[in-house]
Amino acid sequence: MTNTLLTISNLDISLPEGSERSLAVENLCVDLAPGETLCIVGESGSGKSLTARALMGLLPAPHVRVSKGSINFCGEDLIQASERRLREIRGSEISMIFQEPMTALNPVMTIGTQIDEIFRYHVAMPAKERRQRAIQLLEDVQLPDPEKIVSAYPHELSGGQRQRAMIAMALSLEPKIIIADEPTTALDVTTQAQILKLISDMQALHKTGVLFITHDFGVVADIADRVAVMQNGRVVETGSVDEVLNRPEHDYTKKLISSVPSLIPRPPRTRSADVVLAVQNVQKTFGDGKSFFGFGKPNRVVHAVKNVSLELCRGETLGVVGESGSGKSTLARCIIRLLENDSGKIMLDGINLCDLNRKEMRPWRAKIQMIFQDPYASLNPRVKVGQIIAQGPMIQGANKKEAEARTRELLEIVGLDERAFNRYPHEFSGGQRQRIGIARALALDPEILVADEPVSALDVSIQAQILKLLDEIRERMNLSMVFITHDLRVAAQVCDRLAVMRYGEIVETGVTGQIFNAPQHSYTRDLLAAVPGQKWDR
C-alpha cells in the first residue's frame, strides 16, 4: 500500500466515567487506500460507529473523546485539526452516509436545498449552476425524474430513494473518502442490493476510499476489499476479504462467521398431515376511518392483507417472508387476533376464531402465542420478569404458586438463571430479554407460536443462540410455528415451508428447499438474487 488516504494509528476513544468500559475504542490501527473498500465488522457495542464519528470529528464531546492516537488524512492529523479546518474537510473531502436516511435528512427542506447547502458552503458557484449540478448528481445515483426529486421533501421519497439522495449528497464534492455507517441496514434486501451496487459503481468511477461499517457478513462478502473485525473496542483481526471470511484466524471471527446462517436450506423434516391452523381468505385494510362529524374525505385505504390463505401443520415451521410493507406483520397480528380482519376465517381446532368476542376468545388465547420483534419494547419496564411470565397462567386461572413454579421452570428452559425472577427487564441484554419473551409465550403451553421477526433486532451470535433455543423448544413441546422474517438466511435454517408475500398477497408457497432451488415466481427469484454474500456461501 504505497499511497494511503487515511491511516489511523493507536486510536483510543474514552467513554465517560461510570460506563461499562473505560475505552470505547482501544488501540485501533487501520489504513485505507484510494479506491479501496475497508469493511469494519462487529456486533453492537463494538465501537465501530464511534470510530466513524471520530474520523469526522463528530464524537459527542466532552463525554466521549479521542484520548490517544492519530488519524492521518493525506498527511494531516485530524485530531489536531481546528474546528474550522474540520468543517472544510467534512463534506468536501470526507463525507458520510448514515444508517437511517429519514433522520439524516432534514424533513422540512427539499432534497435540492440540502444538496445546494453543500455547494454553497464549500464552493463559490452561481445558483443556477448549483441547481444543474444537483440534478446531475441525482441522475448519477439513478434516481428517476431528478428534476422532480430536486424539489421533493424527504418524506415523499421511498427509503431506497432517500438513501440514494444521501449518497448523491455524499458524492457531491467528489470526496476522497466516504464513510458509510450501516447504510443499508434499514433497507429491504432488493433495495440493499441496488444501493451496494451503486456505492461500488460510484467508487470505481471516482477512486474513492470507502470505509464501510456493517454487522452483516453477507454484505462484507459482496463489497469489501479488506476487512477489520472489531470486538469490544479492539480490532481482533484484519486482512483481505478472502482471508478473513474463508480462513479466519481469531476465535471471535470464527465464532461470528459460524453464526451466520447458511443460505443452503437444511434438510426437510417429515411433515405431519394434521392441520392445526388454517387461515382462509383473510383480508385486512387500514385507514377507512371517517372524521368525528363525518365531514371530509375518507382517508387513503391501504390493503395490507389481500385474500391470504395458509395452512399450518402440527410440528412444522411455516415461514412467511417478504419485504417491509408486504403485510406479513399484519397477517401475524390477524392470526393472533390483535387486529380484527375484515373478512376471512382463522380456523383453530375447527373453530373460527374471528367469530369469538373478547371474552370467548380468552381460553383460546392460551393455544396461540406470539414472540415479538423488539426485545426492548416487548417487556414492560416497570414489571418484574417473574411477574411478566407468571401473569399469563394467572389470567388463565392458575393460582399464584403454580404460576410461579411454572415460571421458574420456564426460566430454566430458556436458559436464564432463576434469580432473574425478581429483576426488572432493563437489567438484561437484548438476547436475554428475547428469552424472557419466549418464556412468556411458552407459559401458557401454546400449540402454536407466531414469531414476528424474533431475531432481527439481535446480533448475529445472539441470533444463532435464540434460533437454536426456538428449535429445541419446538422439538420438546411439539410446537407448530409461524415464523415471520425478512431474512432469507434465517428462513433457510428455520422453516420447513415458506410463503412469500408481496403487497399483501402470497405469491408463492412451497417447501423451503424447493423455493430456494427452483423458485417459480419472478419476485421470489428477485428476492433470492438480492441476498448478499451468495458467492461466499457456495
Binding site: 368525528f292 393472533i336 381460553p363 388465547r365 392460551a366 415479538f372 416487548s378 401473569q391 399469563g392 388463565q396
Partner: protein, 277 residues
C-alpha cells in the same frame, strides 16, 4: 431509588427548592405550637411595625399578628394545593386513560368535553365557580380542581396513545388480559414520571389560584390564608407595608420552591432530558 436521588441531587437548585419546601411544611405543621392562639385574634396594638410590641412581622389594622397568620396560612395553602392537585390528577388520569386507550368515539367525546373546560380562562372560571357556590374551603378546592384537570387529561391521553401500541401491551392482549388491568397495571406505571412532574407544578399553580381568590375576597372567611392577608393589607400599603409584603414573600418563596422541585423531578425522571447540560 438511590440512583433517582443521585440524579435529583445533581440539580442544585432543586435541592434548594426541596429544602425551602421542607421548611414551609415544617412551619405549617408547628403553627399551632408556636402560635397556639387563633390567628384571627386581634390585639390592642394595630399597625405595629415588624419587631414592635412583640410582633415579629408586625400587626395589621385590627392588631392581628402577621407572623401567626403566615404560619397558619401555610397550612391552608399547602393543603388546598395538595388536595386540589390530587383530585385533578385523579380525574385527569381517568379521562386521559380512557380517551387515549380506546381512541375513536370515546376519545372524541372525552376530549371535546376537556376542550370545553380548557376554552374558558382558568382564573375567571375559578372565580365564577366560587362565586356561584359561596366561598368556602371546599368550593375553592373544587374550583381549582375543575380548572386544572384538563391539562392532566391531555398529558395522560398522549402518553396512553404512545404506549398502547407498544409490543408489551400487545403481549398482554395475547395473554387475554382485561382492558382495565392493562390500563392501570401495565400502561399507567409507565407514565407516572410525567404525571408526577405536572402534579408537582400544579401544586404551585393551585397555591397561586387560592391566593388570588382570597385576595378578591373569595376565600373562606373563617380560614386564615396568605391571599386573605394580602387582600386585607392592600388598602394600607402606604402606612403599613409589612401586612402585604410578608405574606407576598411567603407565596413567592413557596411557589418558587415547588417549581424548582418540579424541574428537578423532571430532570431526574425524564431520562431523555437527563444529559441536557
Amino acid at each position: 431509588m438511590n440512583s433517582f436521588w443521585n440524579r435529583f441531587s445533581r440539580n442544585k437548585s432543586a435541592v434548594l427548592g426541596l429544602f425551602i419546601l421542607g421548611l414551609v411544611v415544617f412551619m405549617a405543621s408547628i403553627a399551632g405550637l408556636i402560635y397556639p392562639d387563633d390567628p384571627f385574634l386581634y390585639s390592642r396594638f394595630p399597625l405595629s411595625g415588624p419587631g414592635v410590641n412583640g410582633f415579629l412581622l408586625g400587626s395589621d389594622s385590627i392588631g392581628r399578628d402577621v407572623a401567626s397568620g403566615i404560619a397558619h396560612g401555610a397550612k391552608t395553602s399547602l393543603l388546598i394545593g395538595l388536595i386540589a392537585t390530587l383530585a385533578a390528577v385523579f380525574i385527569g388520569v381517568i379521562f386521559g386513560a380512557f380517551a387515549g386507550y380506546y381512541g375513536g368515539l370515546v376519545d372524541d367525546v372525552l376530549m371535546r368535553i376537556t376542550e370545553v373546560f380548557q376554552t374558558i380562562p382558568s382564573f375567571v372560571f375559578a372565580i365564577l365557580l366560587v362565586a356561584i357556590m359561596k366561598p368556602s374551603i371546599e368550593s375553592v378546592v373544587i374550583a381549582i380542581t375543575v380548572v386544572s384537570w384538563p391539562a392532566v387529561a391531555r398529558l395522560v391521553r398522549g402518553e396512553f396513545l404512545a404506549l398502547k401500541n407498544r409490543e408489551f401491551v400487545q403481549a398482554c392482549h395475547t395473554l387475554g388480559m382485561g382492558d382495565v388491568r392493562i390500563m392501570m397495571a401495565e400502561i399507567l406505571p409507565n407514565c407516572l414520571s410525567p404525571i408526577i412532574v405536572i402534579g408537582s407544578l400544579m401544586v404551585a399553580t393551585a397555591i397561586l389560584i387560592e391566593s388570588g381568590l382570597a385576595f378578591l375576597g373569595l376565600g373562606d372567611p373563617n380560614v386564615m390564608s396568605w391571599g386573605f392577608q394580602i387582600s386585607d393589607g392592600r388598602s394600607m400599603l402606604r402606612v403599613a407595608w409589612w401586612i402585604c409584603t410578608f405574606p407576598g414573600i411567603a407565596i413567592l418563596i413557596t411557589v418558587l420552591a415547588i417549581n424548582l422541585v418540579g424541574e428537578g423531578l423532571n430532570d431526574a425522571l425524564n431520562p431523555r432530558l437527563r444529559e441536557r447540560n
